[in-house]
């Protein structure tokens, strides 16, 4: 593949005090692909995401996104560089309407300051209108406009997941990090989620990197998969390779066959 590299992680190592959480992780995400990051619980997958989205500063190594070194940047700066993410446990602002949730995520291109808000000048009105128009447009595309003025806490769990993904997309990300999008969904919802993620990937042209435990989701979506265990990479390759890899089967899946 001769596609352009979007995210490159080189020799990423992270320690929490004396605990070695990650050792020498290397990642190379191509533009437009769907990649998976899997591993047993506590393997350090979410730590990788937290490092990429800026919650921790890596102990060693580099995170390069579109040629910019992102180590040590604040999470909101990284967000404005167009990296969106969702969380394992839904973290919407549950007491603000869905529309407000989407609008607040436009903070990176507000285009006005406190002064404009005080005087409600033309700049303020134009920008507010633009932000709201974009939010409505996004909600229409996600078929969520009916619940735009509802509070997420009153919405069903499946819809909350979709709102969270929509919120991440309101950053107009080039890279979308999905942390266990299938967590808490029933098996019957899984195929729905798979088509949903595929739809997002195709319509928004976004590169997706996801952590997931549901093999069904990973195997049917990902172009490439990376497996970590105890903070170390143990395998990488296409879904077919991973399914056959003895190291993965041993470390991650025990002795069971992958169905």
């Amino acid at each position: 593949m001769s596609k352009e590299t979007l995210l490159e992680i080189k020799h990423l190592t992270h320690r929490f005090g004396g605990l070695q959480a990650l050792t020498d992780i290397n990642v190379n995400l191509k533009k437009g692909e769907i990649a998976g990051l899997i591993g047993p619980n506590g393997a350090g997958k979410t730590t990788v995401f937290n490092l990429v989205s800026g919650f921790y500063v890596p102990s060693e190594g580099d995170i390069i996104f579109k040629g910019t070194r992102m180590n040590g940047l604040k999470p909101h700066v990284i967000a404005s560089l167009q990296v969106g993410r969702t969380f394992q446990n839904i973290r919407l602002w549950s007491d603000m309407t869905v529309l407000e949730n989407i609008c607040i995520s436009q903070h990176y291109h507000l285009g006005y300051g406190v002064g404009s808000a005080l005087f409600k000048n033309k700049k303020y009105r134009e920008n507010e209108k633009k932000i709201h128009d974009e939010a409505w447009q996004l909600l229409e595309r996600f078929n969520l406009a009916d619940s735009a003025l509802d509070y997420p806490k009153n919405l069903p769990y499946g819809i909350q997941r979709r709102v969270e993904i929509a919120r991440a997309l309101s950053l107009q990300p080039e890279l979308l990090l999905l942390d266990e999008p299938a967590a808490g969904l029933s098996t019957s919802d899984l195929s729905d989620l798979i088509t949903y993620i595929k739809w997002i990937h195709d319509t928004f042209g976004v590169t997706i990197w996801m952590i997931e435990h549901q093999m069904q989701v990973i195997m049917s979506l990902c172009d490439s998969i990376q497996v970590v265990d105890f903070g170390k990479e143990i395998a990488r390759g296409t879904p077919e390779d991973i399914q056959k890899n003895p190291a993965v089967i041993k470390a991650y899946l025990g002795n069971e066959e992958i169905s």
Binding site: H76, M96, S105, H107, Y108, Y112, V114, A117, N143
Partner: protein
């Protein structure tokens, strides 16, 4: 009624009511005692609404609001003394002629507010890293730092206090005979409500509320939480400074002990009584609280048994305060007809490129 007319409905009613009260005060129907109560209400509205920005909207726990009020009160008092009080303790003579007082007064108050904005950095910068109980301790500490500092500055009177601000007020009344204190009380209270409403309901200000619900996801969604905290703290303290300036000029005498932890607690009580994150709640509770204090004045010391007891009962049976996090228009939806609707909240008839089934 068209939306355009509706936009002016509530503001014009408010202005009309204020004008009537001022007129009544001018002709003497409303005596000095009631004027003082009205002014106290105005000051308390500013105090509770501004504290609500930090404690309600942002969800932090600031207990040092009295300290910022002190900064505003002292800075504006000193300015007012230097500029207009002949024979003051600082310069010895007035720098400006008495007729200027009428013009300079609002600026004196605003400079007091600006000064407490600067001092609020003492709280805002630690708040980048600390939260909750720890930040509460920092705010209490700030309150003590401010009052103790003032106590130990002899030029502003130390613990004996500062007086003479009434001179400015009497100069203003001499130039144009109006109840000036009441007018500026109304103006600043109304402005506070408008300003807080505008900032907190803009997408920018909603970033502050996002911190309250989930700070981590706010950061992830491109909200610069540090600058939001800075905005919330300086904004809220600046308004407290304005309230302090008005308070100082209303009483004509201030000393550091008026701005101790009791003052901060009083503001906290009003915020929690009204409901966190509810602007109308904090305005209503400022009214109720001030009037209650006045009504219970005959009960003397028993007042401090009755009021805390009422608080305990309210917190027991209505822990979210009068309004909870809602505004008056959400509690009584009919009131929405009085305001022009926000067009941005109406679903546009969009032509989406592709709709997900």
């Amino acid at each position: 009624m068209t939306d355009k007319k509706k936009k002016f409905l509530v503001p014009s009613i408010t202005v009309l009511v204020m004008l009537i009260i001022i007129l009544l005060a001018k002709v003497g129907v409303i005596n000095n005692y009631y004027q003082t109560i009205l002014m106290t209400i105005c000051i308390n509205v500013i105090m509770s609404a501004s504290l609500n920005v930090v404690n309600g909207y942002m969800g932090e726990f600031s207990c040092g609001h009295g300290g910022f009020m002190a900064v505003g009160a002292y800075v504006s008092s000193i300015l007012s003394l230097i500029l207009f009080c002949p024979g003051n303790s600082i310069t010895g003579h007035a720098l400006l002629p008495p007729s200027m007082a009428i013009v300079a007064f609002p600026f004196i108050i605003l400079i007091g507010g600006a000064a407490s904005m600067v001092v609020s950095l003492l709280v805002a910068i630690p708040s980048f890293k600390t939260r909750d109980d720890y930040l509460a301790i920092i705010t209490i500490a700030t309150n003590f730092i401010i009052t103790t500092a003032i106590n130990n500055i002899p030029i502003v009177g130390g613990s004996r206090g500062l007086m003479g601000m009434k001179t400015t007020m009497s100069f203003m009344a001499k130039t144009v005979s109006l109840p000036w204190m009441l007018i500026w009380g109304f103006v600043f209270a109304a402005l506070t409500v408008v300003v807080i409403h505008r900032v907190m309901h803009s997408t920018l200000g909603m970033g502050i509320s996002a911190i309250r619900y989930d700070e981590i996801s706010a950061e992830i969604m491109s909200v610069n939480t540090n600058s939001m905290k800075l905005l919330a703290f300086t904004f809220s303290s600046g308004l407290a400074g304005v309230a302090g300036g008005l308070f100082a000029h209303m009483l004509g005498f201030i000393n550091p002990s008026s701005f101790g932890i009791m003052k901060s607690t009083e503001s906290l009580v009003m915020v929690y009584l009204g409901g966190m994150g509810s602007l109308s709640g904090s305005v209503i509770s400022a009214f109720i609280f001030t009037i209650l204090l006045e009504l219970l004045r005959p009960a003397q010391i028993l007042k401090w048994v009755i009021i805390p007891l009422m608080l305990i009962l309210i917190m027991q049976f209505r822990p979210e305060g009068f309004m909870g996090p809602r505004e008056l228009t959400q509690v009584f939806p009919r009131l929405k007809n009085l305001f022009a609707p926000n067009r941005n909240l109406i679903r546009p008839i969009a032509k989406p490129t592709e709709v997900r089934k």
